[in-house]
């Protein structure tokens, strides 16, 4: 290509961009409506997906993340009976190595079992969990405190808020704990209530009794033992499972690494069923928007047919004319997508600050299943960008119509 031709190409591109830009302002109302349709669809998709994925994340993090763990290292016989007799022997060196792994955000050993708590003539079944001091100091547990404090001496217990209400105890009150200990022994102790906890899940709030790991080992007679080590990996997305990888890097005799997905297949099934429903709704939305855009594009193509013919007759190359139309539609869909992302983001941030709370029967049913009846959104940017990509792609596919018109229009004037 010689210089003057190269110069012509540059000049052509400038012309195409200018025409595209001005064409956007030509039928301002149509451009606005089209852009708004794209924005709105994207806005809706972002909110829907953010809430959906947010709820799953919330479910997983409350039920799995803080409790049994995204990944759990336990004796190969521990799961699913969760019997104290299948405990692990403490191995601090191994634990240290595990904590050094870049994929591991945190790793905490625990020992836990079931027992009966009583105060006077009131009693309740509790799942007691012995937390290591490191875990108790983690921000997650610190922020859960509803009353009392984390400052404590030996024999302190923190109860789920609802359990404390049921037993009618306040910080400072004593409780008697009984239960089955290690290898058939009987466990018994007297604990002092140090505080009450929000557990993020009503079911957990009704049954959790938190004590220090050392106290738990003394109580159960499982000296120097852990029920399991609870690992929070860096990658916590629902579709991520680093357990096999971690297990291969940090083997422990007689133990295995189980992901929450393996331990709780019903949770994954619930999520998958639900996410399919969401995808169907979005698919329908996109089909509707897609046909809407196609209609607009057909209108646009028909309106410009004569103009296309004239420009071709003048000696404008078809490719350049097509480029002009493409740039116009690209600009329009990008502007719509940008607005949609912005509006969606703002809405998601507002929903994060003031999460939707379900009410009535739905809320009751959800709480009965053990979930807190709120809809916290996911803040994952990839949701916005994925759906922006989808809708821009739909717009560009719809642009195939006017592009086809450009390539089919004859320069002959009629």
């Amino acid at each position: 290509m010689n210089r003057s031709k190269l110069f012509a190409r540059q000049s052509e591109l400038g012309l195409a961009a200018r025409l595209a830009f001005r064409n956007l302002g030509r039928n301002r109302r149509r451009s606005l409506i089209t852009g708004a349709a794209i924005s709105f669809a994207l806005f809706f998709a972002i909110i829907l997906r953010s809430l959906q994925l947010g709820v799953y994340g919330h479910m997983v993090s409350t039920v799995v993340g803080s409790m049994s763990g995204y990944v759990q290292v336990s004796d190969t016989a521990y799961w699913p009976s969760q019997n104290l007799d299948y405990s692990l022997y403490e191995d601090q060196q191994w634990l240290e190595r595990l904590r050094q792994d870049p994929e591991v955000a945190s790793a905490y050993p625990r020992i836990q079992g079931f027992g009966l708590l009583s105060v006077g003539d009131r009693s309740g079944v509790a799942q007691w969990i012995g937390l290591s001091p490191e875990e108790a100091q983690s921000s997650l547990w610190q922020t859960r405190l509803a009353s009392g404090s984390w400052e404590s001496g030996p024999g302190s217990v923190w109860l789920g808020k609802r359990l404390a209400e049921q037993l009618q105890v306040e910080p400072g009150d004593s409780l008697v704990a009984m239960g089955q200990g290690f290898q058939g022994s009987v466990a018994g102790a007297s604990w002092v209530l140090a505080g009450t906890l929000h557990m993020g899940n009503p079911e957990l709030e009704k049954r959790s009794a938190i004590i220090e790991l050392k106290d738990a080992q003394d109580f159960s007679g499982a000296y120097g033992m852990w029920s399991y080590v609870q690992i929070t990996p860096q990658r916590r997305e629902i579709n991520q499972d680093p357990s096999a990888e971690l297990g291969a890097r940090h083997p422990l005799d007689g133990a295995h690494f189980l992901s929450w997905q393996t331990r709780m297949p019903e949770l994954i099934q619930t999520i998958q069923a639900d996410t399919t429903g969401g995808r169907v709704i979005l698919f329908i939305l996109y089909v509707v928007i897609g046909f809407g855009l196609l209609g607009t594009m057909i209108m646009l193509a028909n309106e410009r047919r004569r103009e296309f013919a004239m420009q071709l007759a003048m000696g404008m190359r078809r490719g350049l004319l097509a480029g002009t139309v493409f740039i116009e539609i690209l600009l329009l869909s990008l502007a719509g997508a940008a607005t949609g992302i912005l509006a969606g983001r703002i809405a998601v941030l507002i929903l994060e600050r003031y999460p939707l709370r379900l009410w009535g029967d739905v809320a009751a049913a959800i709480e009965q299943q053990g979930w807190e009846a709120i809809l916290p959104p996911s803040l994952d940017w990839s949701i916005s960008f994925t759906h922006a990509g989808i809708i821009v792609l739909i717009a560009l596919i719809a642009s195939a119509w006017p592009l086809r018109t450009v390539f089919k229009t004859s320069p002959v004037h009629r």
């Binding site: 012509a8 001005r22 302002g25 004239m310 007759a313 003048m314 000696g315």
Partner: protein, 226 residues
């Protein structure tokens, strides 16, 4: 072909395929046009004027026959080359819908020059010069929608001449104009024909326009009359 002729049409036939069978729109037309001519193609509606002009301008293919413009046989060029040839060598004025609605008057005049890759200064100077020549000084930055039909046609004439083409083809350029605007447009076309030496071939069935032509080609039922 004669060497001096700018345009030479030899035995051109154009047959349209329609649902009612083939239609012979142009049946073996031959003509020659000298450089600098101011010529009209006349005849009743449906006699094949548009068809012939489209063939000469390379907008439409011919069924048979050959067309030379300035020594190039355009009936033998590839699609790409025809577009390139049109861009550099032929100016068009149509009956209507001549202008790009989103470009203002001078940008419309400069449209072809811009496709050719001319710099903005050269384009603007030439466009302003031509707009002044067609009597539209002061209207340079108006959009087509803000111009009258006659003014729009004058912009189209200015554009057709912008890149100094060998030949300007105009298919019924005055069909939508009143008699005053028609006279004005023809004055301008004739003046540019004289001043720039551009060859004009326009079609019409308006007797007033026919009178202004220096060369006449009479078409009837797709055949040239002597």
């Amino acid at each position: 072909m004669t060497n001096q002729a700018l345009l030479s049409v030899q035995n051109v036939v154009k047959t349209y395929e329609s649902t009612a069978g083939p239609v012979q729109a142009v049946c073996g037309v031959s003509l020659e046009l000298q450089r600098g001519a101011f010529a009209a193609l006349v005849g009743p509606s449906g006699c094949g004027k548009t068809t012939l002009l489209n063939a000469i301008g390379g907008l439409d293919s011919v069924t048979s026959g050959r067309i030379w413009i300035d020594g190039t046989e355009i009936t033998g060029l590839s699609d790409r080359k025809v577009i390139e040839f049109r861009l550099h060598r032929i100016g068009f004025v149509f009956q209507a819908f001549n202008l790009v609605p989103v470009l203002n008057a001078w940008e419309n005049v400069a449209f072809v020059m811009e496709l050719q890759g001319l710099g903005i200064k050269a384009r603007r100077d030439r466009a302003y010069e031509l707009l002044s020549a067609v009597g539209l000084s002061g209207k340079e930055i108006q959009r087509p929608a803000q111009l009258s039909g006659g003014q729009q046609q004058r912009v189209a004439v200015a554009r057709a001449l912008a890149s100094r083409p060998s030949l300007v083809l105009a298919d019924e350029p005055t069909a939508n104009l009143d008699s005053k605007s028609t006279d004005k447009l023809l004055d301008i076309m004739h003046e540019l024909n004289q001043k720039e030496g551009t060859t004009f071939l326009f079609s019409t069935h308006d007797p007033r326009v026919i009178n202004r032509a220096e060369v006449l080609f009479q078409l009837e039922d797709g055949r040239l009359q002597a």
